[in-house]
Symmetry: C2
Subunit: 492 residues, 2 copies
């Protein structure tokens, strides 16, 4: 167990908070609810961004940038969207400071610099973007518009937690415009598939794809698709959403297009996003009581090489071997750090790379030099083996796929074991309270029932899975008829 890190089984929440700090991922800042993403944490986020950006471009999207601020009159144009975000908006009201007349070393807001119209710091960009699209769209020739933006957004959350819920966070938001409803629906589904593929193939995190209930939909959407993941403590985490916005924003901003026959119609829209919240999901999916565990595809350092030596001569000998191995691994496309820092002991380095989740550690000591061996340690299994030096490069390169795959399989198994089918209210309450995990149960389809179940158990409907089978049944809460089971869980 890593020093100072609570055990997951005893204090999952404390474990998470400590781990985020110990692994140098992020910390709270001097600004309420806002985080500092530290270099090591940011390097992981950059790997996520790179891959997602590639996937967006492969599906025909381009990046652009829209303003941070949304004038209040634009913000309120789509009423449901505005209502949904109004209670958590940071508002800019002034554009100048001046010296405090009572204390020349202080500044005060200049009352003469009040804005005529307040500016909302974007909590999401539909309003400013659809106000812009209005100028870009006249005819079907201008469609589709397939744009993504990487940006910071602000939602004034009262209870915040690093990565999971912060007042400012980083995300990408896709905003597309289409000539037909079907095209927009296809786009909504496509982008959810992109998110699911990213979660499984890069984060090694299995997800359930489904529809949100009306209560849980994005404000202003006709339908919200989501991917839901299961954390090690049995709580669910919404990892990405893709919204079919219908013609709501086109109507709010009067965006029409002429089709091939010159007929005017409102434009169809989607939006979709994932955020630095994925960092929280990644951490809580794989990490253990020794610290962070990273899938190799998202690890900033995939292999750390640590020399064990006494004196400069031995270090020089070890370094020769270490650098050879390092260069050979880099030539195979791996990212490798050879840590010959003389200020730190090997034990300190072992603990450091463990807590930071480096997938593979290679140690080379004086005895290894004699025997022509090295020691290879896997972070995911904490297993070690000593092997001939000439085998290490191929072996470690192969471990990248092996670890990536094994983390996914392990988590798939975990989700399977922690998804419970229940038929009665008693079972439901028992599982939610005592086991956690996903609970598949019949529901009568009303928002009232959903709300009452939430109040009674804190469990929410995570989604109506795309692959839910049509099965007649009775709602666990009201006994009213139900056509399919939905997925409940307590959630982040």
């Amino acid at each position: 167990m890593a020093k100072g890190l609570p055990k997951r089984s005893e204090d999952f929440s404390g474990w998470y908070n400590e781990l985020v700090g110990m692994a140098d991922l992020a910390e709270n800042s001097g600004v309420r609810g806002c985080m500092v993403i530290k270099p090591y944490g940011f390097a992981i986020w950059e790997k996520m961004q790179d891959q997602l950006d590639r996937m967006f471009k492969e599906t025909g999207h381009q990046n652009a940038y829209f303003p941070l601020f949304v004038p209040k009159s634009l913000f309120e144009a789509e009423e449901k969207n505005a209502e949904g975000f109004a209670k958590e908006c940071a508002v800019v009201t002034h554009y100048r400071l001046k010296t405090d007349p009572e204390d020349a070393s202080k500044l005060i807001v200049d009352p003469n610099a009040k804005l005529e119209e307040e500016l909302i710091v974007r909590p999401t960009s539909e309003a400013i973007i659809w106000n812009t699209y209005k100028g870009w769209i006249q005819s079907y020739r201008d469609l589709p518009i397939l744009i993504n933006q990487w940006a910071n957004v602000v939602r004034w959350e009262m209870r915040t937690r690093l990565f999971l819920r912060t007042a400012e966070f980083l995300w990408q938001e896709g905003h597309t415009a289409h000539a037909t409803k079907q095209e927009a629906l296809d786009e909504t589904a496509q982008m959810l598939d992109v998110y699911a593929a990213f979660a499984e193939n890069f984060m090694a995190m299995p997800v359930v794809k489904g529809y949100k209930t009306e209560n849980e939909r994005f404000a202003g959407a006709d339908d919200t698709y989501c991917i839901e993941a299961l954390m090690q403590d049995g709580k669910a985490l919404q990892a990405g959403t893709s919204h079919f916005l219908g013609q709501n924003f086109a109507k709010a901003f009067d965006v029409k297009f002429a089709d091939k026959d010159g007929k005017q119609d409102y434009v169809w829209a989607t939006s979709w996003g994932v955020s630095t919240r994925l960092m929280g999901a990644l951490i809580m999916s794989h990490s253990d009581d020794y610290g962070l565990v990273l899938p190799p595809k998202l690890a900033p350092i995939q292999v750390a090489i640590v020399p064990i030596y006494k004196g400069e001569d031995q270090l020089a000998q070890v370094s020769e071997v270490a650098n050879e191995i390092k260069d050979a691994l880099i030539a195979k496309g791996l990212s490798v750090k050879y840590d010959d820092d003389d200020k730190r002991k090997p034990g300190w380095k072992f603990a450091e790379y463990e807590v930071k989740g480096v997938p593979v550690r290679i140690a080379i000591g004086a005895r290894d030099l004699e025997n022509g061996t090295v020691e290879v340690a896997r972070r995911d299994t904490m297993s070690k083996e000593t092997m001939p030096r000439e085998e290490v490069v191929d072996h470690v390169a192969g471990l990248m796929d092996e670890i990536q795959c094994s983390l996914l399989v392990r988590n798939q198994q975990f989700v399977k074991e922690n998804t419970h089918e229940v038929e009665t209210w008693e079972e439901f309450v028992d599982v939610i309270e005592n086991k956690g995990g996903f609970v598949s149960a019949h529901w009568d389809g009303t928002g009232e029932t959903e709300q009452q179940i939430k109040e009674a158990t804190k469990a929410t409907i995570r989604c109506i899975p795309f692959d839910a089978q049509e099965v007649e049944g009775k709602c666990i809460f009201t006994g009213n008829p139900s056509k399919r089971k939905v997925l409940f869980a307590k959630a982040y």
Copy 2:
């Protein structure tokens, strides 16, 4: 000349504004002073970012992310810095909206959601970052810290212009912490060299490196180094700055470290940045009356292939050849677009790729098929040549370096021709008013003289060039003794 585009010689400023729109680079938004960076413009910015990011990492820097907001009490801690930016700050004062009691479809700022302490939207991040570094630095072992951030910043400018001066802009800001003054000075110089290398080798834009005068320094810096470029209208543009911050921020935020002997000292700092302003510099460096001209290394599309055909059969034949050439060019690492869009005529496409600055256009028609030829047009020289099909791939690949180099040489020649040595006030005024360009002249070293020259001519001291020779002379304005010439110009 491109339709609707003013001539540079007649209306440079109108030409710039039109061009930014016609080339689909950016546009004004519904938010005063804020721009929308359109996909084509953003793709160029992404190329700049990629390359700069690579250069920052090669020089040992890591990326991180710090909060958008700076609490007022932190903002005012470094007094000079605070004073310098106080007059252009967007200020968040409230964190919630509510329904307007007089009109349920409107929102108003909720007076009960006033922040206890106002938040400044970062105009630059020294304050929030040094408040964070305080927690990271105890001993010399924690130094240096070499961090960069890609972010949006807000400076409430009254007169704005796309890319050149906008209320919100995108930039990178490096913030480093060092144990010694010399190390911080070396870092300041190193990063200016990185900027200069980027400007010359990627933007094909020659720059002068130098020191800013005290009047023109970054607020809170002990010294500001800059790179200055010369635009086609003879006005200078500050393209990047690197600041030696001394111990000013360490003192303001009480950031000390223990050296090897346990002695406490304040930490030394630098910061350095370039912004989307570079887009403006790029545009005004190379473009012409036909539209944008892009150096190949920053062009999102390096080669556009346009088919000229009648009917589907001819298109199919041309496409076979075009796709072969396209694939061969992509295999050589070029980014190529084959534009077989049937909704647009070849003439329209020619104009489109011209106005968008695509470095090379290949046209293939029916006669080319017969003759085994293609037509290759260079955007920088607007020259065309017809060549055997089997030569085109090597030729066009070679053109990338040739065009990149030729743009740089052309601009070096331009800077040389437009840098004037003057000895008297009359000469100075004449050159500034009638010729423009850089004016190298003696100056007595005082802020007062600098200010009076500015008021009389609008020319400012762009920099004291690093390579300025020690030559005794007399200030053009006061006649007082001067030890070296400095570089004046009217500037953006």
